[in-house]
Amino acid sequence: MTSMTINTGARAAAAASRRTSHKRRVRREGFVGWLFVLPAFLMYATFELLPLLMSIQYSFLRWDGIGPMTWVGLKNYATVLEVPSLFGTIINAFKLVVFFSFVPVALGLIVASVMRRVAAGRLGSLSRTVLFLPQIIPLVAAGIIWGWLLAMPGLFNQVLRLVGLGGAARAWLGDFDWALPAVGIIGIWVLLGFCTVLLETGMSKIDPSLYESARIDGSGWLREFFSITVPLLRQEIGVCLTVTVIAALSAFDIVYVTTAGGPGYATAVPGIQIYILAFTEQRIGTASALAVLLMALVIIVILPIQRLSREDRV
């Protein structure tokens, strides 16, 4: 009995010490893990978190970027609402979501699945490269070239005239009805390659036997697409939607180099207004307030998308 007790006690002690050393090892491993994360975290903290916190701080200040700062509380958030056509810029940003997000993701799904089916091998990698190219071309250069193509004497109108549709020729980026869709089409051009490559990578992870059994059951391409490909790609679609919706709502570069928000406020987006407030008007506080509001808006739109793709994992 006694020996048993001793035995049990020793075992318990050994187990306890094992547990402690295990804990210690886990803790040490955790520590080493944090060390690995540290360089990236430092960069992230310096260039992402710190500016974010500073923007929030600035949004409560009146500051011209150089002189002394004065605390103004929530006043900047009230004055932001006086910015010309602010509501219109937000509506424009949501319209851009259609072009920057919905179209590239939908088209990307179709293109990726067609590529996997009919253009494997060299042709496939060639088309992937061509589609992905806009991602590596500097947007400013691309924007200028698009400006030429869509101008009145540009290639696009030349083609229209050539095929007898000269009556439809117009300055696409200077037309109140067409400027936003024209900017949107440039967005599609930029983001389609990104979505296609991401979705195609996702497709390569889908078990081919699923397609085989579906084919044995007599399903066609369309049925396979909607019953296997799309549901199993929900996570990748979630990532694509997240990235592209953010690109649309916080759009700046494409708009700035093609239309600078014109004509009138037809393509003005919050990003352009933030830029003008901060750098042309030297109102850092008001610009920061608008930036914080834009960030809140992006989070509100993005969270449901994130939740949808996460639920898919269960």
Partner: protein
Amino acid sequence: MKCKAFLALLPLLAATTLAFAEGTKLPTPPFGKEPVVLNAYFETGFDIPFKLAEEFTKQYPNVTWDIKQDQFTNLINSTPRLLAGDNPPDLIRLPTMVSFSKQGLLKNLDGYANSLGWASWPVPQLSQNRVAADGTRGSGALYAMGLNYSMTGVFYNKKLAAQIGMKQPPKTLAEFEDLLAKAKAAKLLPIMEWGSAKSGMGLAFPLQALMASVGPTQPINDWIFQKKGATIDTPSNLNAAQHLEQWIKKGYFPTDINAIEYTDAADRFTKGEGLFTFNGDWQNPAYDAAMPGNVGFFAMPPEKASGSPAAMSAPLTYGIAAKAKNADAAAFFLTWVASNPVARQINVDVGGSNPGGPADAATPKVKAGSVTNETLAAGVVVGKAGTAMDFIANSTSAIFAQGWTPELQKMVGGKQNAAGLLKAVQAEYLRELAQ
């Protein structure tokens, strides 16, 4: 204390000023033989400051330049940080000056105006660069100098003008509008102009010309200089905006104007698209080169024959950072530009503009047949009439981007009328001033 020291210096300054005004040589350079590097920021796309800097080094070999350049629109945004930074420029192209002078970022140039003789130059040269303590322009301390003095107005294609029987520039607004109608009837584009938001809406040029044609110039300058209670929404300006609205409706401008960049408009005009174009004399060398002998110029005619032509005519402003290391050398350069015969010649040949400077300085020779002859002559007429104005896009830092450009673009698109345009711009003006 500073004031006393300044008073003690006065007799000396007066002597220098006198000696200089009498047409003697330049004042002694503030540098000896030791090397000086002038830190400068110039505007991309305009050769004039670069050529002047080059010539300055030729004449004073120990002075060299560290020149950075940027587009005008980028300069608007980066100037405060450049001036406040660790390496403040000795010389910088200034887009605006009121906020920078208030922030103490610009050197007060009054001392140089006295010691280097600028104060004795014909009066309008300095007044546009003065900022009063309350932030209004036109009087107060001097914060910038003009590298030259530009003149704006109407350029015309002589061959196309002959086609519609235009023998001489119009003398009244009615004559001008008659020519526009004739051009339209002859299937010519009456006016080439730019209008993209990237370049800034060029219709601000004809609009301001119309304002000065049908009304007085002083209230326009008051508005630009932010004088208390000034407004752009006046009955005569409404009349001007209505003329412009009619011109748009009658198809006097290119249909794609809202997408045309400044450089494309200038290029298309030289290729024969457009009988007229509203622009400034900085474009003279390019017009002379592309359409030699075929380009003419006149200042916007007044509404009535008894009136005087008026023009937007502004100095090509350059300032010195408050903390500049070589402020004296930079100020000497500005004096040299306006006084040295070679520099003045470069200013006219490359810049196309009046070099200003001392009243007795010889006017540089201009090539026969160059449109510069016509812009300089128009400048004299406008100078005598006292009808020169600053640009309505310079009243506040964002009035061009947030006011004139979008609202005029809307007018082109039929989404804004004359009254609404002036109301919207005035509201934007007040919004910016309220900050």
